[in-house]
Symmetry: C2
């Protein structure tokens, strides 16, 4: 049971859950344009649910910072800006840095070995399907996911995974992340897991912060190139 993907299937029991997941995907992947206004009656019809159910989903989207609401006015998808990108990534670096430090302290040897195996597997896959950014992104998310889980801090996990990650993905997907950074990110991942394996939390934290900072610069450049 090792080396399998650690990304969990989200529990979707209610209709509002389903609308939330679908809407979130549409927003993150650009199906609904960033900054655009959201019409409750229109979307309710599109998803074949009542407005109450749709509003429930919108409330959750607001909680993960994917939409912004104003009372009696309405709801719009967040706008992607360089300023906001920096803000989000500063927070992300601090939190994932913490996750790394805790992971170095709390992960089991088996969990660490698992991640190493995962990286090897991804490396092989990547050699074959050069440039397939989807697999790269999935692999990257999986790596970060496991570190966060490895911190054994449920609150930290919830904050990163539910409140921050979809927003991060939104920037990455809509800025079209591909290219030469892929192989470099692998090396960085490797250095991080080695630091964790050595139980060097301080180093692991520093490497992760730097890794995320590089990633931010990469997206920032796309922004500047875009106009």
């Amino acid at each position: 049971m090792t080396h399998q993907s650690a990304q969990p299937i989200e529990q979707v029991t209610t209709a509002a859950d389903q609308v939330f997941v679908d809407l979130r995907r549409a927003i993150v992947e650009g199906g609904i344009a960033q900054g655009s206004k959201i019409s409750e009656p229109e979307l309710a019809k599109r998803f074949s649910v009542s407005r109450a159910t749709l509003r429930d989903a919108l409330n959750r989207l607001e909680a993960c910072n994917l939409v912004e609401r104003k009372a009696n006015v309405g709801c719009r998808v967040v706008a992607l800006t360089p300023e906001r990108l920096i803000e989000v990534y500063q927070v992300r670096a601090a939190l994932e840095g913490l996750a790394c430090r805790l992971a170095a302290q709390n992960m089991t040897d088996e969990e660490i070995a698992d991640i190493k195996g995962l990286l090897n597997k991804h490396l092989n896959e990547q050699r074959v399907k050069e440039g397939e950014s989807y697999y790269q992104e999935a692999g990257d998310l999986d790596f970060h996911y496991r570190i966060i889980k490895g911190s054994k801090n449920e609150h930290l996990f919830s904050l990163l995974y539910h409140d921050l990650y979809q927003l991060v993905r939104m920037y990455r997907v809509q800025m079209g992340m591909t290219g030469p950074r892929v192989s470099k990110a692998f090396d960085e991942h490797l250095a991080i897991i080695n630091a964790i394996a050595n139980r060097d939390g301080e180093l692991a934290e520093m490497l992760m912060k730097r890794h995320i900072s590089y990633s931010m610069n990469n997206i920032e450049n796309k922004f500047n190139a875009a106009q």
Copy 2:
């Protein structure tokens, strides 16, 4: 206009807003017991609103981690445990540490002078009303609030202020924070603002992390003493 309190009055326009604020207060201050189950029909009647409105408020409480929901089962107030205290304070330390580092970089000289004045004012008040923990808590919140605002990172502010702070207050209030730590906290605040005034972000970050760590230990001791 200097030296006034910086804590903003929250915008409360809709009925759901009001219920949210009232319920949050009741949960944080213990009016509704930690860990207890929440009955939607009962609370709706108590606040004289429909269940839909109450559910809206519950959704927001869930977003700030004050209640936990399970689909088709219900909603209960979070339980205060030493483990969760540590988790929350680890996250808090990382985020407020970041806030300090950014504040040292981004606060204006005027804003810094304002906080210094605030601390002096609180010190005087505190000498007169020795042991009045309410004022101390308000002052403490005000101090931290201004640092966070001073980071000029809106996302960080939102995360700390909306998603984490009420939970922190819940631990503080329900564990009955008073006593000899009050005067020591003042000195720590002073050291932090001095580091920021010197534009020494690294030191400010470290001092803040330590300050929060002390605060956590203090609450943890109350836990141990409580049983």
